[in-house]
Amino acid sequence: MSAPSAAAPVAVPPPEPRRERRRGSGRSRGRSKAPSYGYQVPGPTRKAQRRLGIVFVAPLLALVAVFLLFPMGNALYYVFVDFNGINPAPPFVGLANFREMFGDPDVYKALRNNVIWILVGTTAPIALGLGLALLVWNVRRGGVLYRTAIFLPVILPQVAVGIVWGWIYEPSRGWLNKVLDAVGLDAVTTGWLGNPDTALYAVLGTAVWSTMGFIFVILLSALRNVDLDLIDASLLDGADWWQRLRHIILPQIMPVFLMVTTVTLIGGFGVFDIVFVMTGGGPAGASEVLGTYAYSNAFELNRISYGTTLALLMTVLAVPFAVWLNRLQQRLADGAGT
């Protein structure tokens, strides 16, 4: 909340004469004047500074080149050839991988599942995480216990989560069906992960459970910075809980809210591990998402190039959302700061 300070008068230093700036080697040169010694300490030359700069950034540049630029170039190479993981000189196929991708009905099926995942897998954990954060916000006794319990699933490995939930969903031995049986809802029992109508949603349920704690903790931290005086004022004005949430709380936590939305949404495009562990994309592709479909092509069918092309599609779809949400977040932050 830097708004008040923005309104205060600020002493603006006069601009440095253009000649001085041109002559000097930057701010450091100006600061290097040491009048107490009676002489000017010579600053490093531009050349020396450049060399030093190169030395400092070289390790990072090397890492970026090895782990980012080279793999990126390698991946771009793969999408234009037909690499099967064995042939050291794969044939150039031009745009054939892209043509196949756009004509592949399984891609659209997986994409549809990704869209469901993004919609449900973003809104559900955010709604639940926000709801829980609001409930725990002013809890004094047992607050640590609640926070720990709700956050715990986040620190569990996704593979372990997938396996345990697989047992829960198991049709004859899993406790979900047993509980449903016990409460008289035996009509809705099913083989959750083996039924094409429920498989994706069953995995989504697990994913929501395991990511909700992260959103809860982040939003709870954001709520700690909400101006309580405004809440008190709104109560005096007779605002109900929804009005307080919409007009007072949410605007104050909006940058953080958008940050968690971005992270969750982008995760929806790249979802892989939990689906792979729980259903492997099955039964018969019913819960296939782009991530598992790309993996299946690249590593199970040895179609590295086609798998890479699918991964490229995931990237192309995810980046605009990431950039848009990031800019929105930035705009809101800037708006709050002026």
């Binding site: 782990f67 980012l68 630029l69 080279f70 793999p71 990126m72 170039g73 390698n74 991946a75 771009l76 793969y78 690499f83 993981g85 064995i86 042939n87 050291p88 697989g166 969903y169 198991e170 049709p171 004859s172 031995r173 099913t190 083989g191 959750w192 992960l193 083996g194 039924n195 094409p196 790249g270 259903t279 492997g280 099955g282 039964p283 018969a284 592709g285 019913a286 790309a294 299946s296 690249a298 590593f299 199970e300 069918l301 040895n302 590295i304 798998g307 890479t308 991964a311 490229l312 995931m314 990237t315 192309v316 995810a318 980046v319 990431a322 950039v323 990031n326 800019r327």
Partner: protein, 423 residues
């Protein structure tokens, strides 16, 4: 405009980094440096730590006799499928490795020039394996591997429960159906069938098809002389759908994983389990009832076992320690090693074994005898998934799950396999 561009680049790079690590091209020289008397042996992850320990101790006897040190490393089979080719190309791969036979396993590596030709070694060392087994590791007239173990796929059944219900060993499809009806009435699941992982469907289809059409016709389909898109293949898919609808299988078999199906059989929750002979050792260790093993019954009689070869040793083409590697393979191909695996790992070697004097359970002795008969006669069905390409396997796994869940018909599943075979 600068900021979004950088972000776009960074995000693109992050995703592509993931995919770019999928394959590398490198030299095909492996084991270029190091002690020529020290070799690396890569095998599949063992069922339990005890088995690996026993294997290490057994290999130590080879080291004592030959002076060749063998460094054993293990990987889950799925991981091996992913990285072995890259390892062999990178020059940091194993000298000897355990790998599957057939065109989609050994054949693919042979075609890529990643396997050492063992044709001469066979003659020099007089390695004896069943003819059909040797054929499975022979590509373009060259022998590239030593089949390590044989597997059959059939039906294990709970003899005690069958006796209790007054049922005889099922020797025909009608027997199987009648027995399943009785078992179901008694409140037990007739067949512990799982198909969550997908590969189980390949075994179920293999055994039904083998018993329905026999080994010759199955050979013709696998070799491409007949099409997968046939009424027989569709019927084999449809049979399991029919069993599911009759309540012979656990609820929602596509939700049940293989381990769960096994535990259903061990606990007595299910009376039969259609699976492979690799389970014999575990059955001996885990059940307190008598177990029988029969081929999947055919429509007109006993049916035939489905047979296949498990993994066996291959030598990397890039190894510079060929002599030591071949000497180690000679050890693995010996009768002594075969007998050791029978007693200690409960695997079935692809060579005739005299079970007399060996410390094996009655169930395993029966399986060994059955397998020896099959190995010599060659009359058995094929485990489809080791004989066809990955694309056909994918179509088979998805097709089977699709049939069980109603996503596609048996005919569509058969047509899907035919389409994948044509690709």
């Amino acid at each position: 405009m600068r900021q979004p561009t950088l972000k776009l680049l960074a995000a693109t790079a992050a995703c592509l980094t993931m995919t770019a690590c999928t394959g590398t091209t490198g030299s095909s020289e492996s084991g270029e440096s190091g002690d020529p008397q020290k070799i690396k042996w890569l095998i599949e992850e063992q069922e339990d730590a005890e088995a690996l320990k026993a294997l290490e101790e057994h290999v130590a006897t080879f080291t004592e006799e030959s002076g060749i040190e063998v460094e054993i490393s293990t990987l889950p089979f799925d991981t091996m499928r992913t990285i072995l080719q890259t390892q062999l190309r990178s020059g940091d791969g194993p000298d000897v490795f355990s790998w599957g036979s057939g065109p989609s396993f050994g054949g693919a590596l042979a075609e890529a020039g990643l396997l050492h030709d063992l044709t001469d070694a066979y003659e020099e060392n007089d390695w004896e394996v069943y003819d059909f087994a040797k054929e499975r590791v022979t590509f373009d007239g060259k022998v590239y591997g030593v089949p390590g173990e044989m597997e059959t796929i059939g039906v294990f059944y709970n003899k005690d429960l069958f006796s209790e219900l007054g049922l005889d060993e099922p020797t025909s499809r009608d027997d199987l159906v009648a027995a399943s009806e009785e078992i179901k009435k008694a409140g037990t699941i007739p067949m512990a069938v799982a198909d969550k992982e997908g590969w189980e469907g390949g075994h179920l289809l293999s055994m039904a098809l083998a018993s329905d059409i026999g080994s010759d016709e199955m050979d013709a389909i696998i070799e491409g002389e007949s099409s997968w898109d046939s009424p027989e293949v569709a019927d084999a898919f449809g049979l399991w759908k029919e069993f599911d609808e009759k309540g012979f299988l656990p609820e929602s078999p596509t939700s049940v994983d293989y381990d769960t199906s096994i535990s259903m059989f061990y606990s007595g929750e299910a009376a039969m389990i259609p699976t492979g002979s690799w389970l014999v050792g575990e059955i001996d260790d885990n059940v307190d009832f008598e177990v029988g093993y029969v081929p999947f019954p055919g429509p007109d009689g006993e049916g035939i076992f489905t047979g296949g070869l498990g993994s066996g040793p291959f030598v990397s083409a890039g190894t510079t320690k060929t002599e030591a590697a071949v000497e180690f393979v000679d050890f693995l191909a010996s009768t002594e090693h075969a007998e050791w695996t029978v007693e200690n790992l409960h695997t079935i070697p692809p060579v005739p074994i005299d079970t007399e004097g060996l410390d094996v359970s009655p169930l395993f002795a029966t399986v060994l005898e059955d397998t020896a008969t099959l190995g010599q006669s060659g009359d058995f069905g094929h485990n489809i998934d080791v004989m066809v390409t990955d694309q056909v396997n994918e179509a088979m796994y998805d097709g089977f799950q699709g049939v069980l869940t109603g996503q596609n018909t048996p005919e569509e599943a058969a047509a899907g396999m035919a389409a994948a075979a044509e690709e």
